[in-house]
């Protein structure tokens, strides 16, 4: 049996700005479920935004799944995509993108985890703590999807190394 891969779920956004916190809410809820499953190979982190120190934080994992809110018109509820190293700088450079983190990780000669970005559609961004009803529905869809995928992936992984990307492609 294979040793399970080290996985990190990392949600970012400001929960004080309504749907901007949906990535953080995802990480909190998936962590509760993982605790019940007693999977000790999975860690969780969250922050207002990603920053350069995350290049070091992610380098000790085999698989990293970032979770963020999105306003992307082409996404109706949620989407998950492979993140590739991206040297482009954001215009708001106090925060950086997952691709930038991966690129910095690479330039620092650190181990690169396979990295995905889970984007959950949000709608409201005011100074309130609560997530909008529509975003909550999207969050639940994303949770259901990831729980199913993760359960299947870890079972398969135990009996033969499976690439999460390949596995995800087969399932979607």
């Amino acid at each position: 049996m294979n040793k399970l891969p080290k996985i990190l779920f990392y949600g970012y956004g400001n929960p004080g700005r309504q749907d901007d916190g949906v990535g953080v809410a995802f990480t909190e809820q998936i962590s509760e479920w993982v605790k019940m499953k007693a999977w000790h190979n999975i860690d969780f982190d969250s922050n207002y935004q990603l920053n350069i120190e995350d290049a070091d934080n992610i380098s000790s994992y085999d698989l990293v799944i970032f979770a963020d809110a999105t306003q992307e018109k082409n996404i109706s509820d949620f989407d998950i995509d492979l993140v590739k190293p991206n040297p482009e700088v954001n215009f708001t450079m106090h925060a950086v993108s997952p691709g930038f983190i991966l690129n910095l990780c690479s330039e620092m000669k650190k181990q690169l985890p396979q990295t995905f970005l889970l984007q959950i559609k949000g709608y409201e961004w005011e100074f309130q703590q609560s997530i909008s009803e529509n975003a909550k529905a999207n969050l639940q869809k994303a949770l259901k999807f990831i729980k199913t995928i993760l359960s299947d992936f870890l079972v398969k992984y135990k009996y033969g190394t499976v690439n999460f990307k390949t596995f995800l492609n087969q399932k979607t």
């Binding site: 004080g16 700005r17 982190d45 922050n47 700088v89 450079m93 106090h94 330039e107 620092m108």
Partner: protein
């Protein structure tokens, strides 16, 4: 035909801002403005909420410097719960907060210098934008990039062990703090494996200063002359004149070094400071009342702090401060690019002070909270990474906030940033027939020296691509450039 150039938004600052530069028919500088184009009214939002929530609620303002708002609000609430105006906390309460604040300033300054500013120095203001960023630093100066990442991480760890968590930290509460420093965290932060220990942070802080000073030797022209202009400077200082980022009295000096605000109580800030509104920006324009809106503007932040204080109460930073002061023969330093130098001296000071506090037994035991007679108004002032931060609240008999007034650091620097834009535009763009990326970046370098947080200043959220628009004098669009 006159031209108008718009840079929208400013890259590498948070929130929504744009710069317009007006040229006359001969392409000579006519006028420039830094506009803030979004505002969401946080002061209104917080009205009606219970006062004890404020230190957590204010972290909604900004994901960049939530700790500064957390502590400034907590200081204001100390006054409301009768715990004094900044010097009435228990030793544990005050020292834990100070440690949190040093961690915040340390990681914020590190990010700014190594991540945002050093690419302009290492690759040149007009360097290739494809590598003029931290990725370029990582490719060509890997050791600097590694230091930046690990120093940021260390500062974040300090925040985590004092504030409790990264998002909506709860460490500071009205009247004190809600935790002691745990022994395993203390040991790890003092003696952690290389490089995550305090001695390495001090060593790297000194290395950062050496890097700047060596660069300065060879590039005096740009560092000393870029966006340099005389100004007043304002900061909080300790009662004995020492640099104190957490508590003290308000002091301002003029461009010659004369004290024009002589160590006044922070609770009296409204007697001395007012804000003006101008039609073209949502960001207000603070000024010293006795000089009026036109002449009363001042700078805040690292440069202003080192200009106003008499000394720095940590030995290595004091030594560097003496070199800094000697460079201008003890006169105020009015060179915008010297913000970077001042910022690096403060990084060293923070590292030294974190070491002192981590070894302080008061953090491990003792009373956490002070209680006193409750009042209905509180003012909390802090020297945040970007400068003096004011939080002012009033509450009613039901403990609900009825009034909030925030003057954030970036707002204090509104006119200085506008002058930096003007200075850079005159130096780099005036008289040119064609505007290239390097010239536009020069304008941003002037703004960037202040490390503005427009998210704080406007409470905005979201990102936009960079758009550069060129108009003729009749506002016909001549050219547009967008960076995605």
């Amino acid at each position: 035909m006159g031209k108008k150039i718009t840079i929208e938004p400013v890259t590498r600052v948070e929130g929504h801002g744009k710069v317009t530069i007006h040229l006359d028919d001969n392409n000579n500088f006519k006028r420039s403005r830094l506009h803030i184009v979004e505002f969401r009214g946080f002061e209104k939002f917080i009205q009606g909420r219970p006062y004890w929530e404020a230190p957590v609620t204010v972290q909604r303002l900004c994901g960049i410097c939530p700790v500064s708002h957390h502590l400034a609000a907590a200081k204001a609430m100390d006054v409301i719960v009768g715990a004094g105006t900044g010097d009435g906390l228990t030793p544990t309460g005050e020292k834990m907060r100070r440690l949190m604040h040093f961690g915040q300033v340390f990681q914020s300054h590190v990010l700014h210098f190594f991540h945002l500013a050093s690419p302009d120095l290492l690759f040149g203001i007009d360097g290739d934008p494809a590598i003029r960023n931290v990725i370029g630093i990582a490719k060509m100066h890997k050791e600097l990039a590694v230091q930046a990442v690990m120093m940021r991480k260390y500062g974040q760890e300090i925040i985590k062990v004092t504030a409790g968590k990264k998002i909506h930290g709860t460490g500071a509460i009205p009247g004190g703090i809600n935790r002691h420093l745990e022994i395993h965290n203390k040991i790890s932060l003092i003696n952690g494996p290389d490089p995550m220990n305090i001695d390495k942070m001090i060593e790297w802080s000194l290395g950062g200063l050496d890097f700047f000073k060596n660069y300065h030797k060879d590039h005096k022209d740009v560092i000393d002359n870029f966006a340099a202009y005389p100004s007043k400077h304002l900061s909080m200082v300790r009662k004995d004149g020492a640099l104190d980022l957490y508590h003290g009295v308000l002091r301002a000096i003029d461009s010659e070094g004369n004290k024009i605000l002589n160590d006044v109580d922070t609770q009296d800030y409204l007697k001395h400071i007012a804000e003006e509104v101008r039609s073209w920006s949502y960001m207000k324009f603070p000024y010293l009342k006795k000089y009026g809106p036109k002449d009363g503007w001042y700078r805040v932040g690292p440069l202003a702090r080192l200009n106003t204080v008499d000394f720095i109460p940590s030995p290595l930073a004091q030594k560097e401060f003496e070199i800094f002061q000697a460079y201008t023969d003890g006169k105020p330093n009015n060179m915008s690019m010297h913000y970077h130098w001042a910022r690096l001296i403060e990084i060293l000071h923070c590292a030294e002070m974190m070491k002192e506090l981590l070894n302080d037994p008061n953090l491990m035991k003792g009373e956490l909270v002070t209680k006193g007679k409750k009042g209905n108004e509180g003012i909390g002032v802090l020297e945040a990474p970007r400068g003096t931060l004011f939080h002012h609240y009033k509450i009613n008999k039901d403990d609900q906030i009825t009034m909030a007034n925030l003057i954030v650091s970036t707002t204090n620097n509104n006119i200085p940033m506008n002058l930096a834009v003007e200075s850079a535009a005159k130096q780099f763009i005036s008289g040119q027939e064609k505007i290239d990326e390097g010239m536009l970046n020069a304008v941003e370098v002037g703004i960037r020296a202040y490390d503005p947080c427009l998210s704080c200043a406007t409470h905005a959220i979201g990102k936009l691509p960079l758009q550069v628009k060129l108009y003729d004098s009749n506002n016909n669009l001549l050219d547009i450039k967008t960076k995605d």
